[in-house]
């Protein structure tokens, strides 16, 4: 199983560094959630990812003001595409994770792993 996590450097990436990550997790570090493109998300699935997470700041807490909101919108848009091409849209998720929330990061990843296991069973 492979999970790709796109992380905002200001928040989720800091949280990731406090967490013990399962071996199947790959991190992609971004300067801001706003940098993520639909193309990146789809390419991750194309490259064999079973789940993709986009973890950014809280929306009202983004250094670049709208970066997090844009990340969320792009995830929603990409989910539509996934639906159309027959991939379970739940395999792509956006969550806000602030820099001091290692436990939340860990839980989101664990939930994703759990969900994927259930779906494949």
């Amino acid at each position: 199983m492979r999970i790709v996590v796109f992380c905002c450097e200001n928040s989720a990436y800091q949280a990731a560094r406090q967490s013990r990550l399962p071996a199947e997790v790959d991190l992609i570090r971004l300067p801001c959630g706003g940098r993520v493109e639909v193309l990146h998300l789809l390419r991750a699935f194309e490259g064999g990812a079973d789940g993709v997470l986009v973890l950014t700041c809280q929306e009202d807490n983004c250094q670049s003001l709208h970066g997090s909101a844009r990340a969320r919108h792009r995830v929603e848009y990409a989910k539509e595409i996934l639906k159309e091409i027959g991939i379970d849209p739940e395999r792509l998720q956006w969550h806000p994770v602030t820099s001091n929330m290692g436990p939340r990061f860990q839980k989101i990843v664990a939930d994703m792993v759990e969900g994927l296991k259930l779906a494949s069973a």
Partner: protein, 514 residues
């Protein structure tokens, strides 16, 4: 061919064969001591004339930052150190991690730094307490300032009030003496009865156009301080109408200057459920003044008594000792006006919801304080939403600061704090005389740009501009805060973000790793 060095932390348990990449010219094991890490890293980097380094091993989080800083100090490029954290990885994971790092390294390009001379002067819009404090501090720090004030004289709202504030410093006295100090200073230019028209340029070199009574003038400055103050709004929703018996809190000083014969006065606070700390402060100040000047009976009605600031609790106690009565209400009181009297009827939760009915000959109502200058901020694309990362005085735009009650409800010490902090930030920005920035982190490839201006619309930092000569967008490197939003949104993929370009991200996706 690029020359890379691999630095392996002692005990990382790395198979050196996984480093077999043509670019890696040297492989070194680093000592476990954090302090010695930097020496060896820099030494090897310089000796082998490396283009970059890959640091592999069990690195504590902050060591990465330390090493990057050491590189910067040694004149090497910190952006070209790729750090691989191998904790919790098995053999296979480690190999994959290292391969991914090599991929990442291949996509790193050198950083180009640029230096620009700055205009060592601050442009302050608004001459109230916060603006005056910013000016005063900046002058003490040796930077010239311009103050633009829309009124005929400086001082703002506080300047119009009569004394009595239980702070260490008397605000009115402070405002008078500060104005005098600034007026005598040849390095302070004061434009009163003037209106800012347009703002161009970026951090380090803003160009401000001001409409003065004698015509429009243009001034340059490296930073802008918006001290736009607040405006008062009558609480229409309450159903109350201003009149001879019902007045707004903002008119209090006007009233108490005269020896009127109001025997019984009520302050009605918290009309919008929450009310404000500043409203309570003004009411307490007013209650004490009225007691002093008129000897009237004074009642204060509120939902929540705000006491979360230094003088509030002591003022409250003083007022109570002087005989001011405090009532609480949860449902908005019934107000009836008849001839010479205003009657309030309400239930006080602290009196076991007993119905209280009192008639007053003057009712003073807390108005809503709203930030002023919204039009200006919109025109200049400046915003300061409730976002902790901007707290206290930063805005979305580099070099533009917001101070005083245009950013939040604020008392005198708050305004002073804002002004001082903004001055400190500006000194750090302009004090050296030049501004160092990354020249090409985010760049528009003008040949690909279709001039759709998406980036200009979405850039949250006001850094995307129009280059009419090239007929392309242009990312102002001094103003850019490197979020990459424009690169993600550009429909023509004309914007390249060094280190986070599509090729790099795709390569990472392919290789995996952290």
């Amino acid at each position: 061919m690029a020359r890379w060095g691999a630095f392996i932390c002692d005990g990382a348990g790395v198979d050196e064969s996984s480093l077999a990449g043509a670019e890696v010219v040297v492989t070194t094991t680093l000592p476990p001591q954090a302090g010695d890490l930097a020496c060896k890293l820099i030494g090897t980097w310089t000796r082998y004339n490396l283009d970059g380094g890959i640091l592999i091993g069990a690195v504590p989080e902050l060591v990465e930052e330390l090493l990057k800083e050491s590189l910067r100090q040694a004149g090497l490029d910190p952006f070209r150190l790729v750090v691989v954290d191998l904790r919790g990885r098995d053999k296979e994971g480690k190999d994959r991690e290292i391969k991914a790092a090599l991929t990442r390294a291949r996509h790193l390009e050198p950083t180009h730094w640029a230096k620009a001379k700055v205009e060592q002067r601050a442009l302050i819009i608004g001459g109230g307490a916060a603006g005056l404090q910013a000016a005063l501090s900046l002058r003490q720090l040796g930077l010239p300032v311009l103050i633009v004030e829309k009124e005929e004289s400086l001082g703002g709202r506080l300047g119009k009030l009569d004394g009595l504030y239980p702070y260490d410093v008397d605000p009115q006295g402070w405002i008078k003496s500060t104005i005098a100090t600034l007026q005598e200073d040849p390095e302070v230019e004061i434009l009163t009865a003037s209106k800012p028209l347009a703002l161009a340029g970026q951090v380090g070199d803003f160009i401000l156009e001001v409409q003065t009574p004698t015509g429009a003038v243009t001034r340059r400055g490296g930073a802008v301080v918006l001290a736009l103050g607040s405006k008062v709004r009558w609480p229409q929703e309450s159903g109350l109408e201003p009149g001879p018996r019902v007045v707004g809190l903002s008119r209090l000083d006007e009233l108490t200057r005269f020896r009127l014969r109001h025997k019984k006065v009520a302050f009605l606070l918290d009309l919008d459920e929450l009310g404000s700390r500043v409203g309570t402060l003004s009411a307490l100040r007013g209650a004490l003044r009225i007691k002093d000047n008129w000897g009237s009976e004074v009642h204060v009605l509120c939902r929540h008594l705000k006491v979360d600031g230094k003088p509030l609790e002591s003022m409250y106690r003083k007022a109570r000792d002087m005989g001011v009565l405090f009532f609480k209400y949860e449902e908005f009181p019934q107000v009836t006006e008849s001839g010479e009297e205003v009657t309030l009827q309400f239930k006080d939760p602290d009196l076991e919801y007993m119905v209280v009915e009192e008639a007053y000959d003057l009712l003073i109502v807390e108005e809503e304080l709203l930030p002023a200058g919204e039009e200006l901020m919109e025109a200049w694309s400046v915003s300061q939403p409730a976002n902790v990362r901007l707290y206290p005085v930063a805005t979305n735009r580099k070099g533009i600061y917001m101070v005083g009650c245009c950013r939040d409800e604020m008392d005198f010490p708050g305004a002073i704090q804002d002004g001082t902090v903004a001055a400190g930030e500006i000194y750090a920005l302009l004090g050296e005389g030049d501004l160092l920035y990354e020249e090409d982190r985010v760049k528009v490839r003008s040949e690909k740009c279709v001039f759709c201006l998406t980036c200009v619309r979405i850039c949250p930092h006001g850094a995307a501009e129009i280059d009419l000569v090239q007929e392309a967008a242009f990312i102002n490197p001094a103003a850019c805060q490197a979020c990459g939003m424009c690169a993600a949104d550009c429909p023509a993929q004309a914007i390249v973000y060094k280190g986070f370009d599509n090729e790099g991200i795709m390569a990472q996706l392919e290789m995996g790793g952290r």
